[in-house]
């Protein structure tokens, strides 16, 4: 059993059974008419062979096909989906097991931010009174490999982080389309012993990435048993379009038998209806289409229902994550996945705010408390993301780790039972007859057992300044000073010998490093 994550005992059922069935029916109807617009020939022929009706067309520069998928094709595909998926890990105790009908929720990072936000304390002098004050100055830097290694190393140490999705986009001068994936996967795997989940930018590198994973897992079969890497494919372009290049990756991964998330991310108000019913009906149809292609390519392959529905911001059509509709969409999708008995990948904790602070805290805390209550197996984007996934801030990730801890505490069971009631009556009676009528002594047991929440660990001392970011910055320095748990010298040696394209500077055992 997976010991990571947290059990949400009574998942919140936003939709009742009848409503779930109505959404299911609506999605299946949409998949039949208008159907999907597919740009990938092999997916089209898989669907056609299974019973879909196909009509070819031309969209701009590309060949495309209208595919009308009857409900039975989708249902048969759903029948072969495994309801339990394991995300493997370098350390066996860090494996994440997601069960479609289970209630264990796991939190992970993401996405691929272009920027890394650096916090630098600087001393300023007041023009008014000459007093000095230390203020955290923020600086946005382009993402690179070094930042990726640092964030994987940080992620290793965040106790509420269960799986790692590469969170900064590597934009080093020596990174090209031809070597990006191998370096991203190596940078991740070498710095964290938890499950690594990622997209692949270039299908030609898939084989190399898988070989690297085999070396780490100890062989081909060992990798299937302990998939230290899992994949994400954004195979859908909303509304209802299947992207050629990504569909090809999806099929290749399905045939390798490795876990893959079907990620579809419509924006309510631009690429999907903004109302909950319309959004959920469409995004659910999109997820089902992706799952069906995956299962047709390899029945029984491990697959995850990844719905990432967001809302459009009304003044510029950018994504919006910290709003109630976002929670509605995501909670409903978690229920749909559960209904189909497919493990679910959901989202919480992205700040629309550009920098850490009050706005970010409000937005993040709001979705951390709401979305996991629907008990999706995986929650991604949960650490350090700001500016609607454009920026990663490591200090923010530490703060988010704490917020997730709070949310997890919230889901605990109430503990009401006969024994507790008897104990309560006895305690009250004792206290009422004691000299000061204080309960303090009775708190000690829970305190020692870690059953009392510790409170906010990053409180500053100032009476007129919020110093949280400065305190967290110190904490980050402590965490970064710890030695990473690199892959062994032997494994690194084999990887660097066998896998072309790896940058020597990533090798921790390199002589002149």
């Amino acid at each position: 059993m997976s010991e990571r994550g947290i059990i949400v005992h009574k998942p919140y059922a936003r939709l009742n059974r009848e409503q779930i069935e109505m959404i299911d029916k609506a999605s299946l109807d949409l998949l039949e008419n208008p159907g999907i617009l597919c740009y990938h020939e092999e997916s089209v022929s898989l669907l056609e062979k299974a019973g879909a009706k196909v009509k070819s067309t031309r969209e701009g520069e590309h060949d495309a096909w209208w595919v009308s998928i009857p409900a039975n094709v989708i249902k048969e595909a759903l029948d072969t989906v495994p309801s339990k998926v394991t995300l493997g890990a370098r350390k066996p105790e860090n494996r994440v097991i997601i069960e479609a009908e289970g209630n264990r929720v796991h939190f992970g990072s993401g996405s691929e931010t272009n920027y890394w936000l650096e916090v630098k304390p600087e001393t300023f002098v007041s023009k008014e009174n000459g007093h000095e004050r230390v203020i955290p100055v923020l600086k946005r830097n382009r993402g690179n490999l070094d930042y990726l290694c640092r964030s994987a190393h940080l992620a290793e140490q965040l106790d509420n982080l269960d799986f790692f999705i590469r969170n900064v986009n590597v934009q080093d001068a020596d990174i090209t389309t031809g070597n990006k994936d191998v370096n991203v996967f190596f940078a991740s795997l070498n710095n964290i012993t938890k499950p690594v989940v990622s997209g692949v930018a270039d299908i030609d590198q898939l084989e190399k990435v898988v070989r690297m994973a085999e070396i780490i897992a100890g062989g081909k079969e060992e990798l299937i048993e302990n998939p230290v890497v899992s994949f994400i494919t954004s195979v859908i372009k909303s509304p209802l379009q299947v992207v050629a290049e990504t569909a090809e990756k999806l099929i290749a991964i399905a045939r390798l038998g490795l876990p893959v998330v079907i990620s579809t991310s419509p924006q309510g108000g631009s690429t999907a209806p903004i109302d909950e019913v319309g959004m959920v009906a469409q995004v659910n149809a999109e997820a089902l289409a992706g799952i069906t292609i995956n299962q047709l390519a390899n029945p029984g392959a491990p697959v995850i229902y990844g719905a990432v529905p967001v809302r459009a911001r009304m003044d510029d059509l950018h994504d919006m994550y910290g709003v109630p509709e976002f929670c509605h969409y995501n909670m409903a999708c978690a229920q749909m996945a559960r209904y189909y008995k497919v493990p679910c990948y959901s989202t919480a904790g992205v700040g629309d705010a550009k920098v850490p602070g009050i706005q970010a805290s409000v937005e993040k805390m709001f979705t951390y408390t709401a979305v996991p209550f629907a008990a999706p197996g995986l929650i991604h984007y949960a650490f350090g993301l700001l500016d609607k996934t454009q920026t990663f801030c490591p200090e923010q990730a530490i703060l988010d780790n704490h917020k997730i801890g709070m949310a997890k505490f919230l889901y605990r069971e109430s503990g009401v039972n006969e024994e507790a009631i008897e104990r309560t009556k006895k305690t009250v009676e004792e206290v009422m007859h004691s000299p000061y009528r204080m309960y303090a002594r009775y708190a000690r047991g829970m305190l020692r057992r870690g059953e009392i929440f510790a409170g906010f660990p990053f409180e500053g001392e100032s009476e007129d300044q919020d110093q949280t970011l400065l305190v967290v910055h110190e904490r980050l320095k402590e965490l970064e000073a710890k030695e990473p748990q690199y892959l062994s010298a032997e494994i690194c040696k084999q990887i660097f010998e066998e896998i072309p394209g790896l940058l020597p500077r990533l090798n921790p055992y390199k002589e002149d490093k």
Binding site: G60, E61, N114, N169, A312, D315, L317, Q390
Partner: protein, 228 residues
């Protein structure tokens, strides 16, 4: 009479109603004539095309812009209004061609560059440019440089607008600039770029003429580049 009709066009733009079937922002407008029908009527009544364009469609869009600035209108309102202007322009088109003034503000070829599928921002820019009176030929997504240049040449466009959302595809923008140069078209076809990973610096680096942070900047810059 003519004034009244022009006012109705303005009102229909504000309501974002392309034709009589469209709902407006206010309830109960479906069934009433929309921009297409009103422009038709105005042309039949012999109202000057310039008058319809400037005091009707453009004036309507200007008011929409003002309402956006004051926070009364949002992007969905702007897009819908721009589509209404486009519907009016489509009705005007044959008349403008006859008068030899087609493409009121100039022609723009828009595209998301090769290997990039993002188009929410590009579509927003295309629709808004149309709403502002430009003729826009939108080539869609994942468009190779050669195709963009070919279309710009064929269409006699004065401006090419390029969008990229991936830092791996933004380099394809420079291919378009190079291709224009190779074909000797660079002096007559200007290039504007946009999309989250791009910047003013990047535009300079690849030799593009301009960078637009959002759709409003796109309109401003297009007006400058096409000398309106």
């Amino acid at each position: 009479m003519s004034k009244e009709l022009i006012e109705k066009i303005v009102e229909s733009v504000l309501q974002g109603r392309r034709n009589k079937d469209d709902e407006g922002i206010e309830e109960g407008l479906a069934g009433e004539p929309g921009v297409a029908e009103l422009v038709e009527e105005a042309l039949e009544a012999g109202i000057d095309t310039n008058d319809i364009l400037l005091n009707g469609l453009s004036r309507g869009m200007e008011l929409v812009g003002q309402k956006y600035e004051t926070g009364e209108y949002f992007i969905p309102d702007m897009l819908t209004a721009a589509e209404a202007v486009e519907a009016g322009m489509a009705v005007m088109e044959p008349h403008l061609v006859r008068e030899g003034t087609s493409g009121a503000k100039g022609k723009v070829v828009m595209a998301t560059v090769e290997k990039d599928l993002h188009d929410i921002g590009k579509n927003l820019v295309s629709i808004m440019l149309k709403g502002a009176g430009f003729t826009v030929i939108d080539l869609g997504i994942d468009v190779p440089a050669a195709r963009i240049v070919e279309a710009a040449e064929e269409e006699g466009a004065g401006l090419v607008g390029l969008s990229a959302l991936l830092n791996t595809t933004m380099s394809n923008m420079s291919d378009v600039v190079k291709e224009l140069e190779e074909k000797g078209l660079r002096s007559q076809i200007k290039v504007i770029i946009g999309g989250a990973p791009t910047s003013e610096d990047f535009a300079r680096e690849i030799g593009a003429d301009s960078y637009g942070k959002d759709a409003f900047a796109a309109i401003r810059e297009a007006e400058k580049l096409l000398n309106n």
